[in-house]
């Protein structure tokens, strides 16, 4: 312990139970494990020294960015150390000419765009948590976001990394290579959920700010109509940069919050469409999309009249998840992907699965990518409700996989979807992933127990919280 403290400094090591308590979970609140030690190193060198020391004692390490993950990827493990990147937030270099930036892994996503927006550039992946989540966490989960419909998930934007491997060795792949020399280690690392090593520096591609942006809000009398218009927009070959659907309950939650943006509360669903490009392109695409919306019974279309109005619409969309805290203490955010030709039926199917179990479901999702987010508001203190939530999560995954879909579009697997991995992958597929992981980390101490189901024992880790105290006010 003293050795670790000497590496990270007095402020960089937390061991009292109060300070460790907030690290016991990420956004998957029902999976908790209080870490004995939390390390907050300040540099690649410190991370490297910490990992070397921990490796020599065979102590498991769980990396954590901002703790906004939703699948338990940053949930600590028994007897392990939690290593957070929150004190590594420097922007190392912004190269406007070659359109890339090098930053430390703890930098908050939105701060990267803030650092380069004066150069007419932005960082395209914009998870809803972008005001909080770290680039390192984005790399670990290959995070998406509304505008990834056009620009692609994180992996399409990461062109270099500095990785500290389990034994403390530093793998410097930070040079912005046009093509990888040898195997594409960077491409493989993105989305590995902290099991290959810890990324301490990220080199990303920056995107030129579009000349024009047009934001449309289509109001629908049914969720089906909204879904069908998205399928039609994709099939019709119109280029949108984001296609997002919010249902009625979501709108109600958001409109009650500080992010209220004037979404119509009586609509069954709204479709938020954004197109970007040159003014002409924007106009043409918007007109094409408007015609499709009209064909699908849109009740009303609003156009953002100013940048401020546009920002408000997006802030509301991105605050939707947090706003659901108004409904019940906990929130289960599912994340499944289905072919975009099957949006309507799959949204229906997931909704039915939840309502059949007496659960409250709110839909807000990246419709353009077929990436559904059925969110369930619940109370983890109610053990039966928690059981039904987990059951519904499994069932939704099963139904989506059967329809040609997949388990996750942007949140990753973590702990939440471990058991579901077998729905999607065969034993051989998983065995190969184990093998690849061992090539990166022979010790298997990096973020153990995540993403890859361990063959024999799949313990159920969920436990209700015993409390006798009173419930929330007014409920």
């Amino acid at each position: 312990m003293a050795h670790l403290r000497a590496i990270v400094g007095e402020e960089g090591l937390l061991e009292d139970s109060s300070r460790a308590a907030p690290y016991e979970c990420d956004g998957l609140a029902h999976e908790r494990c209080r870490p004995e030690v939390v390390l907050l190193p300040r540099s690649t060198l410190e991370v490297s020294k910490c990992l070397a020391l921990l490796h020599s004692h065979s102590i498991p390490v769980v990396p954590r960015g901002a703790g906004t993950g939703l699948t338990g990827g940053a949930t600590p493990v028994e007897g392990g150390v939690l290593l957070g990147t929150a004190r590594m937030r420097r922007v190392i270099e912004v190269n406007a000419k070659d359109r890339f930036a090098r930053v430390e892994a703890g930098l908050v996503n939105i701060d990267l765009t803030r650092a380069c927006c004066d150069e007419g550039l932005f960082y395209a992946p914009d998870p809803s948590s972008q005001a909080a989540c770290s680039l390192g966490g984005n790399v670990a989960n290959n995070s998406g976001g509304p505008h990834c419909f056009k620009h692609g998930n994180t992996t399409r934007h990461v062109i270099g990394l500095v990785i500290v491997m389990a034994n403390g060795e530093v793998l410097d792949l930070s040079a912005p290579e046009v093509d990888p020399v040898g195997y594409d280690l960077v491409g493989l690392f993105v989305g590995s959920e902290g099991m290959f090593g810890i990324a301490t520096e990220v080199t990303v591609r920056l995107t030129p700010t579009p000349e024009a942006i047009e934001t449309l809000l289509g109001v629908f009398a049914s969720l089906d109509d909204a879904c069908d218009s998205v399928s039609a927009i994709i099939a019709g070959g119109w280029d949108a940069s984001a296609l997002e659907i919010l249902d009625k309950l979501t709108i109600a939650a958001v409109e009650a919050s500080v992010f209220a943006a004037g979404y119509p509360k009586d609509a069954e669903a709204v479709l938020l469409v954004e197109v970007e490009g040159s003014a002409v392109e924007c106009h043409e695409n918007a007109e094409g999309i408007l015609a499709i919306l009209a064909d699908h019974g849109v009740l009303e279309v609003r156009r953002a009249q100013s940048e401020r109005e546009r920002q408000k619409l997006w802030a509301a969309r991105k605050g939707a998840y947090g706003a659901m805290g108004r409904i019940a203490p906990d929130l289960y955010v599912s994340d499944v992907v289905v072919p975009r030709t099957k949006l309507r039926e799959m949204v229906r199917a997931t909704t039915d699965i939840c309502t059949a179990r007496g659960l409250k479901i709110l839909n807000v999702f990246h419709a353009g990518d077929g990436n559904l987010h059925p969110n369930i508001s619940y109370d983890r203190r109610d053990s039966d409700e928690l059981r039904r939530v987990i059951e519904a999560g499994d069932e939704m995954a099963r139904v989506c996989v059967e329809a040609g879909g997949t388990l996750s579009g942007e949140h990753g697997i973590g702990l939440e979807k471990l058991a579901q991995m077998k729905l999607y992958f065969s034993d051989e597929d998983l065995e190969l992933m184990h093998t690849v992981r061992r090539a990166w980390d022979p010790s298997q101490n990096m973020n153990p127990g995540k993403l890859l189901p361990i063959r024999a024992c799949m313990e159920t880790r969920t436990r209700p919280v015993p409390v006798e105290a009173s419930g929330r006010a007014g409920s």
Binding site: L14, R19, A21, P329
Partner: protein, 444 residues
């Protein structure tokens, strides 16, 4: 007059926390980046989300409220920036005040700290005489050069001494007149809150406030005997003291009625005070005798710029003329104005009415580290929080910084003084007053 520090009944750990409120948080993390102490430390437990997590854990019996828990709560500035970012509407300030109130007598705190806090909140702040005496004494020490000497000491004492604002001469410390007539045609009446530390340290701001209101045709009343609103008490956990002061303030203003028989608008030039006073209704909700009066009172409280823009902009505008001020200027949103009251556009509207060059400060809604007594209680943290703000100010190239809260004004002035900057810090009332003076001269 004095208030008795809280003697709360011994409570269980779970009662330390407003458990129901803690359940509103779903851990989305949108508050993290807004939190000055998280920015400073990178520590989850020093963030709103982390603090709520700890509070909920305490309520659920999974965590003992130990010294580290208290320290992380004490580190909070109560700037309420997190509330502006919270989609779930978590009322963080109220939660923290609740817990601080119950921790006030906790044995986890040192006796000395508890005693000093009790004395300061209980005796000094509510008493203009005590404050006047201390201000006089401080000025005396400053004139002797002893404070400057002490500021060279290492550690907390040195930092505190360095942070000490220079006390102006006695003529600037005199109280406001009880009644000031409107200038020109009377278009209404208001009462103003004189404040606890305003008269000795920023008397000129009070006078500027009255002058601007008078120039807008407002007859200005300033009742005696109720100077402190109790916000510092509430922030530091002395809710009992805060309630007593609230009752006293409401009482002293109760005789001031307008032509329509309604309570006069109460205008304050301190964002921390107006933000707190607007919530008197909630503060006294459990007091049957006072709850309704407090709620009515709260609705009549207006921040200076809010009042002017909503009710007196057209009356004021003709009185404004060109003014002398180092430009460009920039506006720093006081936390309790923008996060506490949602007032962002009004001060900017006033400033832009002056036709001077104004630049926007990056992250202008971030806390400067003043936070009421915080700068005195935790001078090192307070300065560390100010440091990035000073850098942001420098980047704007502004030569005048305008604010609307005494604490912020003193904090910025202190920080700028220490870095040898020549940027002038003005209260928005002072700036407007300068425009008035010119308006009058050119009119004559």
């Amino acid at each position: 007059m004095q208030t008795t520090p809280t003697q709360s009944a011994p409570c269980t750990d779970a009662q330390l926390v407003d458990y129901a409120a803690s359940l509103d948080c779903v851990h989305c993390g949108l508050c993290l980046r807004t939190c000055p102490t998280y920015e400073l430390t990178g520590r989850e437990s020093a963030s709103p989300r982390g603090r709520i997590h700890m509070m909920r854990s305490v309520a659920e019996g999974e965590l003992k409220p130990d010294a580290a828990f208290i320290d992380e709560l004490d580190l909070c500035l109560l700037c309420r920036h997190c509330e502006s970012a919270c989609p779930s509407g978590v009322n963080f300030a109220a939660m923290l005040e609740h817990t601080r109130a119950r921790l006030l007598d906790s044995s986890e705190r040192s006796w000395l700290v508890r005693r000093a806090l009790g004395l300061g909140l209980g005796r000094v702040l509510p008493s203009p005489r005590w404050i006047a005496f201390l201000a006089g004494a401080l000025r005396f020490l400053q004139r002797l050069g002893l404070v400057q000497l002490a500021s060279r000491l290492p550690g907390k004492v040195g930092q505190a001494a360095a942070a000490c604002p220079p006390v102006p001469p006695a003529r600037e410390r005199r109280a406001l007149p009880r009644h000031t007539p409107a200038l020109g045609q009377r278009r209404g009446s208001v009462s103003v809150l004189e404040g606890c530390i305003m008269p000795p340290l920023l008397g000129r701001v009070n006078r500027a406030t009255v002058a601007v209101l008078a120039a807008a045709g407002r007859e200005v009343h300033c009742p005696r005997g109720a100077s402190c609103c109790g916000s510092l008490h509430a922030h530091n956990g002395d809710l009992q003291g805060a309630r007593e002061l609230a009752r006293r303030l409401i009482d002293k203003h109760s005789g001031l009625l307008g032509d329509d028989g309604e309570l006069l608008p109460i205008v304050t030039n301190s964002a921390g005070c107006s933000s707190h006073m607007k919530h008197y209704g909630a503060l006294l909700a459990d007091d049957a005798d006072w709850a309704e009066r407090a709620a009515v009172f709260g609705k009549q409280v207006f921040d200076f710029s809010e009042y002017l823009v909503r009710f007196a902009f057209d009356d004021l505008r003709p009185a404004l003329g060109p003014l002398e001020v180092a430009q460009p200027i920039c506006w720093d949103d006081p936390c309790h104005l923008c996060h506490g009251q949602g007032i962002r556009d009004e001060p900017r509207a006033l400033l832009d009415a002056l036709s001077i060059e104004r630049v926007e400060l990056k992250e202008s809604e971030s806390c400067c580290g003043s936070a009421g007594l915080y700068s005195v209680l935790r001078p090192l943290d307070s300065r560390a929080i100010l440091a990035p703000r000073l850098a942001a100010l420098k980047a704007t190239g502004a030569r005048t910084l305008v604010s609307a809260n005494p604490g912020c004004q003193l904090q910025w002035s202190g920080g700028l003084r220490q870095t040898g900057s020549e940027v002038e810090v003005l209260h928005i009332a002072e700036l407007l007053e300068r425009a008035l003076a010119h308006g009058r001269e050119s009119g004559e």
